[in-house]
Symmetry: C2
Amino acid sequence: MADEVKLYAVGGSPFVCRVKIALNLKGIEYQNFEEDLSNKSADLLKYNPVYKKVPVLVHNGKPISESLVVVEYIDDVWKGVPILPQDPYEKAVARFWAKFIDDKCIPAIFKVFGSNGDKQAISEACEQLQILENELASKGNKFFGGDNINLVDITADFLAYWLEIIEEATEIKLVTKDKFPKITEWADNFVNCQVVKEILPPREHLLAFFRKRFGKA
Amino acid sequence: MADEVKLYAVGGSPFVCRVKIALNLKGIEYQNFEEDLSNKSADLLKYNPVYKKVPVLVHNGKPISESLVVVEYIDDVWKGVPILPQDPYEKAVARFWAKFIDDKCIPAIFKVFGSNGDKQAISEACEQLQILENELASKGNKFFGGDNINLVDITADFLAYWLEIIEEATEIKLVTKDKFPKITEWADNFVNCQVVKEILPPREHLLAFFRKRFGKA
């Protein structure tokens, strides 16, 4: 029996795009079900009753949610281009940074825009970004994972693509080339990867969305 | 070369105990370095410069932090009694629930005690606990993982042991047998597992600590 792979998604979500990048990297075909978050489908509510959120991957009828759990699942099930390192220590390091991005960086950045650029929030977000900057600088690789993207890069898709668009929409600049040269370079490398470029949502749509959301439309 | 395994720890921490349970389950010998959190060791700051927190596992000189990352690492490196299911789907389900406990349950419960029993906070914590109660009820197993403890049970050690002690210290009761019969039964099974029982910190120490912390000493 051929695999049946369904993705419940919202095209503009960086969390959904993590899963799409992973699927694309592995060359997996799937059906995409675009959700209307103001009127969620019965399927989404059935498949993710705890969070009622996208992304949800349904593989041969079995649902998996939480983007990083899904990405690890994809890496577990489909061999080919690896997403996590094979070495247990390198794998732990990748999970550590993925968790750091989710638990520390992204919430700190959301606070900046949610507070309309509060100085304390900016300073806290820059502190987290500096940690990532240092990590990239100390390794000196093209990506967090080395020469190729891995779990950490995929987790950081928001930083590579969405952040700059929200900065433009809100006119609040967090990541400059001067301040974070390594993150800027990494972001450029990441969005220009073929497997990433192919699935990123159109810039203009996101810009219009965030301008509306942050009252700058 | 024999493995050198060091754990930077604080005995009373449920996050540290996750790692200790995992090490005990695998039968791994290690050196325990008890930290004074008011005067952290140079080693701790060196090994976990990002969070400066325990637990940190140092395996043959290589540091790993974040308790669930460490537990997965232990399971990856040392075979024997498994901590994560082997089946990719069951593994994803275990990671989903571990993340739920960390991201939703524990913060909701901390809010209850931090707010001295605010009604809204209690209601929100009970909502999260009800989701776990339903999960245990729907599976009907002794543990989240089935007949044996797994990643989810280990992640939930706080709920099994610490919570009841904090309830006594604060005189705020969240989990009763009437309201959460499955969680109560699971907690009892969990703390009575040999590998768990052997490493749990003494109840009286924790009770005194939490009475002091919540001003009921």
